[in-house]
């Protein structure tokens, strides 16, 4: 379960594209002031970075505050620069345009945004993107293999395990994790408990459970 998180910050910068600046000038100035504190305290910025950042700040006022990260999303390394407060869910949806992952409550209460990080299902709305530099992330787009749906996806389809479909991506990410877990017993009672963080307002729970049963038999 635990993995080695002691990776150095990547210093490669090629291929970076500027973000569209969206903050006000006031916020920008405030941000610059604070970023000096962070860089000084962290000591994790290379000496050459400050100069590069000045250049970038000409075209992207937020660049000075950004942190370079690489997310390995569905098997593809995606190098980018993000603001410290960029939430993993928003980066996946808005920057990487992987819109299968849904924003529900945005507070870790509904499970619609669930993705896998290094094999574990988590709520992407409660993660900063900067926390996941170098991590392997699987979204619902990564469940299928060469266009072939996974056993869980097929079972959700065949068992009609949804109505509106908004929670479905999160349901399938948690279901996939639960069915692969060595710790969670393979029983409908244990599955109900393990799936309780994924809310379905349409109430498709019965069919979600049927889908998990079917997927567990075909997997």
């Amino acid at each position: 379960m635990a993995h080695d998180k002691s990776r150095p910050l990547s210093k490669h910068r090629e291929g970076f594209k500027s973000y569209t600046a969206s903050r006000s000038r006031r916020n920008f100035i405030k941000g610059v002031g604070l970023s000096g504190v962070a860089v000084a305290a962290s000591g994790c910025a290379s000496q050459g970075m400050a100069l590069d950042q000045e250049d970038e700040a000409m075209t992207d006022p937020e660049a000075v505050n950004k942190v370079e990260i690489t997310l390995n999303v569905n098997g593809q390394p995606r190098k980018m620069k993000v603001l410290p407060n960029a939430v993993l869910l928003d980066v996946l949806r808005d920057d990487l345009v992987l819109t299968g992952t849904k924003k529900g409550c945005d507070h870790g209460q509904c499970g619609a945004c669930n993705v896998h990080v290094n094999g574990d299902v988590i709520n992407s709305c409660l993660s900063l993107a900067v926390m996941h530099d170098g991590d392997d992330i699987t979204t619902v787009e990564g469940l299928s293999t060469e266009g072939e749906m996974s056993a869980v996806q097929k079972a959700f389809h065949e068992c009609d395990a949804y109505q509106c479909g908004y929670c479905t991506a999160g349901q399938m990410m948690t279901a996939t994790y639960v069915l692969n877990s060595d710790d969670i017993p393979a029983s409908p009672e244990a599955w109900k408990e393990a799936m309780s963080g994924n809310i379905c307002r349409c109430g498709a729970y019965k069919n979600i459970l049927s889908a998990m049963q079917q997927a567990s038999e075909t997997a």
Binding site: M1, A2, H3, K5, S6, R7, L9, R23, N27, K30, G31, L34, S35, V37, A38, A41, S42, G43, C44, N65, V67, L83, P84, N85, V87, D106, H107, G108, G111, N114, D120, V121, I122, N123, C125, L126, S127, L128, V130, M131, T174, Y177, V178, D183, I184, K192, E193, A194, M195, S196, G197, N198
Partner: protein, 326 residues
């Protein structure tokens, strides 16, 4: 969400040095911090990410205690073979909390630092002495049915402590290891969380620039049986209205050792030392359990909507004691 600066700490010393002032926050799993920053209830200037620190291990010490790294996830801790075998009450408590995905995020140190679920604390507007000292407490006389306490309250704050894990740790007995600018020190678990008193904004015995690095569980009681009973409005994925963590060993028909802590009903993970003492040497019986429950809730103060927690909490204590002595 508001802007903040970000520091990825590469060592505990660097984390402590970067934390410095009160307005900065450590970031572990993020399930409390990011939630509350989105609500603007927590307003960090700098977020100090500690996820690169080597605090992911669970280690059995030579003296029989169990040393848990602050970054061990709730899932990893709950399913660890030693925890399942020797500290079943902790495994049960962890698995009764939150959801599969949140337990994968939430860490041991983070759960110790979990903030209260009082809606007046979380709304960012209402009077709340915890969020804004001196502003008052909207929960007193307001909506206080589910996440407010009957034990350890004050006229300034009545929010209950939300953690299940901490209730089990209080019962087991544990030590919180913190690292600060002056070095490392150990704080007994039952002293770590503070009752609100006159300063509900001060929640812990650790200083603002001290980092939790480990929690060390006491050596398990020989021959014990343990149980965590959690009572709530839903069957799953809900905070406790009342909970009871019990650890009991019986020898020759009499209770030899007993540990009892309660959750959902108190402003901190509530160890009931006096109630434990009342059980020692007695044969397990309905009468003995009833007496322990009465002692455990002695001095309980009901609020306008949560008086039901007193009988509910007593019944949780009684039923959990029955379960481990049946």
């Amino acid at each position: 969400m508001r802007q903040f600066s970000y520091v990825r700490a590469e060592s505990a010393a660097q984390a402590v040095s970067a934390k410095g002032i009160e307005a900065n926050e450590f970031l572990a799993g993020g399930s409390t911090l990011i939630d509350l920053v989105k609500l603007d209830v927590m307003q960090p200037e700098t977020v100090v990410d500690i996820n690169s620190l080597p605090l992911y291990d669970i280690e059995e010490l030579a003296d029989g205690r169990l040393k848990i790294g602050a970054l061990v996830s709730n899932t990893a801790l709950a399913y660890h073979p030693v925890v399942k075998e020797k500290y079943a009450v902790l495994s049960e408590a962890l698995l009764s909390g939150a959801s599969t995905s949140l337990r994968n995020k939430a860490t041991t140190g983070g759960n110790v630092m979990q903030r209260v679920r009082c809606s007046y604390f979380r709304d960012g507007i209402s009077p709340c002495n915890k969020r804004e000292p001196g502003s008052g407490c909207a929960a007193i006389g307001g909506h206080n049915r589910s996440v407010h306490a009957v034990l350890g309250t004050s006229e300034h704050c009545i929010a209950s402590h939300p953690s299940d894990m901490c209730v089990a740790m209080a019962a087991i007995g544990a030590t919180v290891v913190v690292k600060g600018p002056q070095g490392e020190r150990e704080i007994p678990f039952t002293d770590f969380h503070l009752q609100p008193g006159n300063s509900p904004q001060k929640e812990h015995a650790k200083a603002t620039d001290e980092l939790i690095t480990h929690v060390i569980l006491d050596k398990p009681i020989a021959g014990n049986r343990s149980h965590y009973l959690k009572l709530r409005d839903r069957a799953s994925y809900q905070f406790a209205l009342a909970s009871s963590a019990v650890i009991v060993s019986v020898e020759g028909g009499a209770i030899k050792e007993a540990r009892l802590a309660m959750g959902g009903v108190a402003t901190k993970p509530w160890r009931a030392f006096e109630a434990e003492q009342s059980l020692i040497g007695k044969a397990p019986s309905a009468q003995a359990f009833q007496q322990a429950a009465e002692i455990a809730f002695k001095g309980a103060v009901p609020q306008s909507q949560n008086a039901f927690k007193i009988p509910l909490g007593k019944n949780a204590v009684i039923r959990s004691l029955k379960t481990v002595t049946a």
